[in-house]
Symmetry: C2
Subunit: 369 residues, 2 copies
């Protein structure tokens, strides 16, 4: 049994995987309408929103692009708050569509400072929207999204707050309506315990107003078409029906657990992972005050090559870790602990790391071992 | 057992559905690289191309949009050859991205005339690309794509030929390289016998040159990123892993059958369906010379309401037909016979129709019955 410890796709429970093998149905018929209505209700509960949640057949990056093209017009001034690779990607997508993006970047491994965001908004009153990553998968940092949103609203009550919540929603506290977030996107392969292929996005009234005004070209990702078809229990284009089956099953479990229990469990899993990593003498990459409860980034210790560690973990310990992305390649590795994961699997991951590092002659691990 | 007779999603064989419930793997690891390489090889065989086939996590409409944004710049003059709803959609997508589209429309139910297409190209030498639907799912007509492509090349040897082959590739003869087609898109939920969620696109050298010059904004659907990542056995964004598993299994069968056998089988299924429909006294919507071997469009007979027929077929005969789209709503219904379908299922469909029409008091069916 492989211990898949990447931050998505995450392993899926047996009943979710079984649902994936359901036979096809008419995506314009009553069975699909019942399915999408039930899923929409479950998503609203976990997004903590009264708004409908749109479902796109795409991965998380598709949802980020959808957020851009439905909110932004070419030339629009956008404040992009980035703390890592995915935050940077959001800016790149907005620039691709002609937005005038101010990149407010914080050191990788740290969280965004709400006061600095507020100051940036004060310096220029032309911003139409602010883009924020909730949980930065590349560095293992969770932004204080509630505080960031509050800081934005203090300066600009009507600014459109667009959130990449791909690796947070369904796992971490993310109260879409209470925190007054406008466009919030997530992906099925993260905390939802479902295979990749669906992206889910909520849109507030303010978000719909921005949609009405936005002039970027859009068709496949058009929120308006998705909203109109959702009222008929359909999607505008043929949906990935099987992944709807899986999401339906996973949502039953997630809704039954409830967001408080899920969040508390994620905190335990995050704590366990961080304590385990430190017990090996390894250093966390993220500022521990903001360390993510869904993914932990660890510095590759002195004297160890990541490719060798990765290979050994895969081949000897059937444990699949994630490497660093972009400028962090070779510098860090990451342990995913979101979705369907047990404390025992995380304990086994730490023990495998202990043994692998000792084999590779890491002094830190040997000292700690 | 439901007889799902819509033109996609089509029913999937048991082993394909079983593959859908495989556990997740690292989409950046060696297992996925082996998987995508094997699938790419199979797709090349069935596309009859030497070019790599890009795989996008999206439905067919996403592939159409991808074809547009990777080939067209705003202001580009495009000739759009339409014989139905999906042909019109292609023009709308191109217009959405700012193309200057000439809509060359043929009567619904007929095929595009190669001479008329050649004349249109002769009238204006500014066309950068021609968009053609191979098999028009909304009307049940298959264009003579080989003749259309030859007519285009005769007038404009270097024009970029972009083909919506969503409901033809893998079912009907579509020799991408031999017919010198440049950008050819299909979707997993059609003849491939796989659930929806993946779109597959081939790009010729001429297509790549157009890509290099095209200035439409693109990110999620960027062909260049997909090409670059394919050389590493990856996709740029998290792929719908489970549907890759299914496509892998289905391709084994399709490649083993071979395109000639598949095409001959589709012809038998098409003939059987058309003969059956006519035996009920019903009228085919399509000009029979160009009637599609993957989907048959049938005129709703006088005195019968499509909603009533649809409901009766669903509830009494467990047979799901497709209605008409756009201006054909209520005027026609459609019988899908692509992907995993047997002659017995089509015979049962005809018999169910005979019985349902008699119950609804259709004089045509009663006379024929």
């Amino acid at each position: 049994m492989v211990n898949l410890r990447i931050p998505g796709p995450t392993p899926c429970p047996d009943d979710v995987l079984e649902a994936m093998s359901g036979q096809m149905i008419n995506h314009r018929g009553p069975e699909f309408a019942e399915l999408i209505e039930r899923i929409n209700a479950g998503l609203k509960t976990l997004f903590q929103t009264e708004q409908d949640v749109l479902i796109l057949t795409a991965s998380g990056t598709g949802a980020m692009e959808a957020a851009v093209v439905n909110v932004v017009s070419p030339g629009d001034r956008i404040l992009n708050v980035s703390i890592g690779s995915f935050g940077d990607r959001f800016a790149t997508i907005a620039e691709t569509y002609g937005a005038d993006v101010e990149r407010l970047a914080f050191d990788w491994g740290t969280a965004a400072d709400p006061d600095a965001v507020a100051e940036a908004l004060e310096r220029d009153d032309a911003y139409r929207a602010v883009f924020i990553t909730h949980n930065e998968t590349s560095t293992g940092v969770t932004n204080d999204l509630e505080a960031l949103a509050r800081a934005c609203r203090r300066v600009r009550p009507d600014i459109v707050i667009v959130v990449d919540a791909i690796s947070s929603l369904g796992s971490l506290q993310c109260a879409v309506d209470a925190w007054d977030l406008d466009v919030v996107a997530t992906g099925s392969q993260k905390g939802w315990m479902v295979p990749p292929g669906l992206a889910m996005v909520s849109v507030s009234e303010r978000g719909w107003k921005a949609f009405d005004e936005a002039k970027s070209p859009r068709f496949y990702f058009d929120f308006g078409r998705a909203r109109d078809m959702l009222t008929k229990g359909q999607t505008p284009w043929t949906p990935a029906v099987s992944i709807f089956y899986a999401l339906d099953v996973a949502l039953k479990q997630l809704v039954s657990d409830g967001i408080e229990k899920i969040v508390a469990r994620q905190r335990r899993l995050g704590d366990l992972t961080r304590r385990g990593v430190k017990s090996l003498g390894l250093e966390l990459f993220a500022d521990e005050r903001y360390a993510s409860d869904t993914v932990t980034a660890v510095k590759v210790p002195e004297g160890v090559e990541w490719p060798a560690l990765n290979k050994l973990m895969r081949e000897e310990y059937q444990t699949v870790l994630a490497g660093g992305q972009g400028k962090l390649a070779g510098q860090i590795f990451r342990i995913g602990h979101l979705g369907w994961v047990s404390e025992a699997e995380l304990e086994a991951t730490i023990e495998s790391l202990r043994s692998a590092l000792a084999k590779l002659g890491s002094t830190e691990a040997a000292r700690a071992g």
